[in-house]
């Protein structure tokens, strides 16, 4: 998981983009690469330029400079006066508010992109029905979008975007319009569909959890520029700025839940460790806790913390008024503590201490 972040694509597949959009008061200048089968998340605060980048990839906002190529084919290059219009790009988009056509049934919404690509009505509908079945909405085929719940509408939007078999799938804040409860289910389902998707997926989000759960790699954007990119774990452990540290400061693990206990997947560090969490689930889950929830002790504490491990300090970095520690042990942990605590514990790289996390601070989500 902690492979070097930047990988220059050697073969000409997937997305290879240098997106430049100059709008006077705002300018976007980001380089993105993603290979087929990979989910890339664009993460950043509101107004960072994420959505502009997504619209540029879709061809809805013209580039003013740079270049965009997909699977070796140049889609846009202003310097060469080249621009493939949106409707001719093999791109599918799930919009933030879905934009399902209100006058068409769920089935006809999904069939829309198949019809424009030349399928006859009957064929398009049969194929669309198949897609609705895949997202578990076969019995809502005749429903108008206004009769669908937020989570259902999101799934119809996903089916509509995937049906024409795009080579680039774009998702704009796919969870933003959902309430917290639906979010968990939808996130888990979206994860499964993205795992099945064999082309490039680019996801825009301001929610670090969405990004870390759904994406293979993150590109953090701030003020129209790339601040950092790499794997979620890599960025969480080695944030290159205070902003990124705050944004993605989460310890995130995959495992299998049995009630409130989560046994981490036996893979590399953290194999077979058990985490006590606040929620009860069963089956595959993600478990996450913030670095600020970690407390460190020189001696084994007697308290009630059930998540307690001996750890070794692998690295220390100052971020704002906190010190971010990279801890190795039963499982890799990122911890934020005050400089005063560092001094009090006499911490240095290589120090051996006990790390404790209260079960109430550990949240689990269905994977």
């Amino acid at each position: 998981m902690s492979t070097p972040a930047i990988q220059a694509p050697t073969e000409a597949v997937g997305v290879d983009a240098h997106l430049m959009v100059d709008r006077g008061e705002f300018s976007l200048d980001v380089e993105l690469t993603a290979r087929p089968g990979e989910v890339l998340a664009l993460l950043g605060p509101n107004g960072a330029g994420k959505t502009t980048a997504l619209r540029a990839l879709a061809g809805l906002t013209p580039l003013t400079g740079g270049r965009l190529s997909l699977d070796g084919e140049v889609l846009e290059e202003p310097a060469a006066r080249l621009r493939v219009p949106t409707e001719d790009r093999p791109v599918g988009v799930v919009f933030q508010d879905y934009l399902l056509f209100p006058h068409l049934s769920a089935l006809d919404n999904v069939a829309f992109g198949l019809r424009t690509r030349g399928l006859r009505r009957a064929e398009a509908r049969a194929e669309a029905a198949h897609w609705l079945e895949r997202v578990g909405l076969a019995d809502h085929a005749a429903a108008r979008p206004r009769a669908l719940s937020g989570g259902q509408a999101q799934r119809v939007a996903l089916a509509r975007a995937l049906a024409p078999k795009p080579r680039l799938l774009l998702l704009d804040e796919p969870m933003a319009a959902l309430d917290a409860r639906t979010r968990l289910d939808v996130r888990a389902q979206l994860r499964r569909h993205l795992a099945d998707f064999d082309a490039v997926a680019v996801l825009v989000t301001h929610d670090p959890l969405d990004a870390m759960v759904l994406a293979d790699r993150l590109t953090v954007i701030e003020g129209g520029r790339v601040v950092q990119h790499g794997t979620p774990a890599d960025i969480a452990r080695h944030p290159r700025s205070d902003y990124v540290a705050r944004l993605v400061g989460l310890n995130l693990y995959r495992g299998r839940a049995d009630g409130p206990e989560v046994r981490l997947d036996a893979e590399g560090e953290g194999a077979d460790a058990v985490l006590a969490t606040a929620e009860s689930h069963s089956g595959p889950v993600f478990a996450a806790f913030p670095p600020s929830a970690v407390t460190l002790h020189r001696e084994r504490p007697d308290g009630s913390a059930r998540n307690l491990w001996p750890v070794t300090v692998r690295g220390m970095e100052l971020h704002g008024d906190q010190v971010r520690l990279d801890l190795a042990g039963t499982l890799p942990i990122t911890a934020d503590i005050t400089p005063a605590a560092v001094a009090e514990l006499g911490l240095a790289e290589g120090s051996e201490v006990w790390a404790a996390v209260k079960a109430t601070a550990v949240h689990s989500y269905p994977a």
């Binding site: 879709a58 061809g59 809805l60 219009p85 949106t86 409707e87 001719d88 790009r89 791109v91 599918g92 988009v93 919009f95 934009l99 056509f101 209100p102 006058h103 829309f112 992109g113 424009t116 690509r117 509509r160 975007a161 024409p164």
Partner: protein, 289 residues
């Protein structure tokens, strides 16, 4: 807000009222209908409705059947309905794309073009008729060519009536549809584009259905305007019973020598237009709600 003042969900004036005294004064006058507004409103309503009542009261109901059977009514009514419908159809075919152009594209002089489109709204219809004669008349800019190339003459024909009515009615449709297009979310068209739809496909399969209520309302306005058209029609198409004499023309001419016939014609025209508008309106509002 002190307790006792009207809920903030009431009229905007209550919300900004500085104290309870003022709020109470508003509350006593009923839910937001001060007399200063109520009296002119009722006067205005009376002014609009009274002539219609007068028409119905003065109508020679006993001799109505014979007046209506007099021979001029049915040809004129039929001609009116046919030409108004044809003019509305022509306005739809030309006006909806024009409205789309004005609402969805940027080109130099767009505002000026929009002003030109609305010009027939403010221009006296008689002037429109004269202008049409100058362009489509036998010696007109286009008329001469139409005549020599295709043998088509528009003035003083039924087709001329349709041209005159469309000229006056189309701006209503264009403005109504343009408003509907501006009010509809153009991002649906972007969504259609990401699904492989060309701009025309997006227009046909997404935009048109979404603005259908606006197009319906515009068509009703245009049809009503065409049905009542007088000035441009009589100037450009003349007044030939059977070919260009529409109901308004027949009413006006009957008024000079047979006032009872004029009243009868007016009542018929009134009833027909009310029936058609109520019928269409019910259908559209029923579909939209």
């Amino acid at each position: 807000m002190t307790p006792g003042t009207t809920k903030p969900t009431g009229g905007g004036s209550v919300r900004t009222a500085p104290g309870p005294a003022r709020a109470r004064r508003f509350a006593r006058g009923g839910r937001g209908a001060p007399l200063v507004l109520l009296i002119p409103a009722l006067l205005g309503l009376t002014f609009l409705v009274l002539p219609l009542i007068g028409l119905l009261v003065k109508a020679p109901w006993s001799t109505m059947p014979s007046e209506v059977d007099g021979g001029t009514v049915w040809p004129a009514l039929r001609l009116s309905l046919e030409t108004a419908t044809a003019a509305t159809a022509a306005s739809l075919v030309l006006g909806v794309p024009l409205a789309w152009l004005l609402a969805r594209t940027e080109f130099p002089g767009r505002r000026f073009v929009r002003t030109l489109v609305t010009l027939p709204l403010v221009m006296p219809p008689v002037v429109g008729g004269v202008a049409l004669l100058l362009v489509f008349g036998r010696d007109g800019l286009v008329g001469e060519w139409l005549n020599s190339a295709f043998g088509i003459t528009l003035p003083f024909t039924t087709a001329g009536v349709v041209v005159a009515e469309a000229f006056v009615a189309m701006p209503f449709l264009v403005l109504s549809v343009e408003g509907a297009l501006r009010g509809s979310d153009s991002r649906y068209e972007e969504a259609a584009a990401t699904l492989g739809a060309s701009r025309f496909t997006a227009f046909r399969r997404v935009t048109l259905p979404l603005v259908a209520p606006g197009i319906g309302a515009g068509a009703v306005l245009a049809w009503a305007r065409a049905l009542g058209e007088f000035g441009a029609t009589i100037t450009f198409a003349g007044d030939f019973p059977g070919t260009t004499q529409t109901m308004p023309l027949a009413v006006y001419l009957a008024l000079e020598n047979d006032p009872d016939a004029a009243i009868a014609l007016s009542v018929v025209l009134l009833i027909v237009s009310v029936l058609v508008l109520v019928g269409l309106r019910g259908r559209w509002t029923g579909g939209a709600a």
